[in-house]
């Protein structure tokens, strides 16, 4: 019985995958519930899962969840695609010119190692509270992974494939569209996946400092009033956003490069 259940979980099907996720979620909820029932009885530190669910429904009922979602999703929904577009464009430029790459490369890695999040208060001072400061901060934290993977992906293109295309008298543009770019695409998508996680951190921090609405703002506000249940409800929503994006990009990556999996 247990052996059969174990074998089922080991399988590579969609149903088995779902069961694995459900099982681990249930386990975490159980541990959480037990913790709040035994060791951590101070409700300012940790509340039971059911209280969090209740707080979540309350936020939905009052409409606060919706207001915050609109604020956060508008900011991320505009700045993230912009970050991807700009990142790919810079990556293309760097991959196409050795001089640009040599000049821009060190600059980019220097910028990349600066914790841009730390500049959040400065952006708020420059751009004011609200959309613009969020937009710029998310753009800056999300753009680097895309730049790096785009350049790396374009440079990684198989020399044999390029030579074969050249032997068929392909133009440089044809080599780019039929070999180099398709080869780089899965790399780019993996960069986008990393960028998405960073964008969520960026938006939360931006909203901590500079806004009147948004998930980050709500987390901050709940924290300051010691409303742990509401705080955790928003954190879980953010976590779901992160997980969803990561899963989508991963499946795109696998679809674009099925030959890598086998």
């Amino acid at each position: 019985m247990w052996q059969r259940f174990y074998d089922y979980l080991n399988r590579d099907t969609r149903g088995a995958g779902l069961s694995r996720v459900l099982l681990s979620t249930a386990f975490i909820l159980l541990v959480w519930q037990l913790l709040t029932a035994t060791f951590v009885t101070n409700r300012m530190l940790l509340v039971p899962p059911l209280d969090v669910a209740e707080a979540f429904l309350e936020e939905v009922r009052t409409g606060a969840m919706w207001t915050n979602a609109v604020a956060t999703v508008t900011a991320v929904g505009t700045s993230f695609p912009a970050a991807v577009a700009i990142g790919v464009a810079i990556g293309l430029a760097l991959a196409s010119s050795r001089v640009l790459s040599l000049m821009g490369g060190p600059l980019l890695s220097a910028l990349n190692s600066v914790p841009i999040i730390a500049l959040a208060p400065l952006f708020v001072a420059w751009l004011g509270l609200g959309f613009s400061s969020k937009f710029v901060l998310v753009l800056l934290v999300a753009v680097f992974p895309v730049v790096v993977t785009t350049e790396a992906g374009l440079r990684a293109a198989d020399k044999n494939l390029i030579e074969a295309a050249r032997s068929f008298n392909a133009t440089s543009w044809q080599i780019f569209t039929t070999v180099t770019f398709p080869y780089a695409l899965p790399f780019i998508v993996s960069g986008v996946r990393v960028a998405w996680a960073r964008a969520l951190v960026g938006i939360v921090v931006a909203e901590f400092f500079g806004s009147f609405a948004g998930f980050g703002f709500a987390v901050m506000a709940a924290g300051q009033t010691f409303d742990t249940a509401t705080l955790l409800a928003y954190v879980i929503v953010l976590g779901a956003m992160g997980l969803f994006g990561s899963m989508v990009f991963q499946s795109v990556e696998e679809r674009l490069a099925p030959w890598r999996k086998e």
């Binding site: 044999n160 030579e163 032997s167 068929f168 392909a170 044809q174 039929t178 070999v179 099925p258 086998e262």
Partner: protein, 262 residues
């Protein structure tokens, strides 16, 4: 008597300049004439510049001296009268078999409908009917090389240039592919120039075998192969066949030994 030569290589040399090292003379004074419809092989130790010569004939590399003429015209770049089948896997992994076979045609601007019809014909010729919509990673090494050959033939070149096409295959698959190549050659009526280091392969397939010396590559000997056609694998046990292989082996033995030491 005038023979119709499709390919004339006259006095071709190739020298590679290497930063911080002595120049590398890869080829010296190569003269080769290939009659239309013939099957000619070039054998030689590794490093004898065979593949370099093939790239010069295709127009992928410029010669340092001398000229290559195909159909009486000097080669300066790859053209539709030549097609290369490379040793390594140079199929596009994100394209299906039919898309790969039609690749050269689509690069030349042929509409998909016509390109895929032509592609289908050569897939059939290569014995791959039913695999049109498979991806390269779903095929065996031998099947991938059939796709490679079909892709070269699909652009309807006058001369097919094969660069050690079966080197990566196991011995049994290689023998099967050799007979397949003979069949395809006879059915298509193309001229074939084969680069190989397998002496028995060269003798089995060719009308004439050109033996290269080791670096710098020069034409050491030209050997007509008077074996009757059609040929099958039993021929490889015939005394005349064994004698020819032996003769060629003795010609390049010293060079192979020399290059094995370095």
């Amino acid at each position: 008597m005038t023979t119709d030569y499709i390919l004339e290589v006259a006095g071709v040399s190739k020298t590679f300049k290497r930063a911080g090292q002595a120049e590398l003379v890869a080829l010296r004074d190569i003269d080769i004439k290939v009659p239309r419809g013939a099957f000619i092989s070039i054998v030689g130790a590794s490093g004898s510049g065979k593949s370099t010569l093939l790239r010069i004939i295709d127009g992928l590399l410029p010669p340092t001296g001398g000229t290559v003429c195909v159909n009486g015209k000097v080669v300066t770049r790859p053209g539709p009268d030549r097609a290369v089948v490379f040793q390594n896997d140079s199929l596009l992994p994100w394209k299906t078999v039919i898309e790969n076979v039609a690749y050269g045609l689509t690069l030349a601007g042929v509409k998909w409908k016509e390109a895929s019809r032509t592609g289908r014909r050569f897939i059939e010729l290569a014995g791959l009917a039913g695999f049109e919509n498979h991806y390269p990673h779903q095929l065996s090494g031998g099947m991938r090389q059939r796709v490679n050959v079909a892709r070269g033939l699909a652009v309807d070149p006058d001369i097919l240039l094969l660069d050690e096409p079966f080197a990566a295959l196991d011995a049994q698959t290689r023998e099967i592919m050799q007979t397949e190549l003979l069949r395809i050659w006879q059915e298509s009526g193309k001229t074939v120039l084969l680069i190989t280091h397998q002496i028995d392969e060269a003798v089995f397939l060719s009308d004439e075998v050109i033996v290269f010396s080791a670096r710098p590559g020069t034409v050491r000997r030209r050997l007509p192969i008077p074996l009757p056609r059609p040929r099958d694998l039993d021929l490889k046990r015939a005394p005349q066949f064994v004698g020819l292989v032996d003769e060629i082996w003795k010609l390049i033995e010293q060079e192979v030994r020399a290059s094995a030491r370095t």
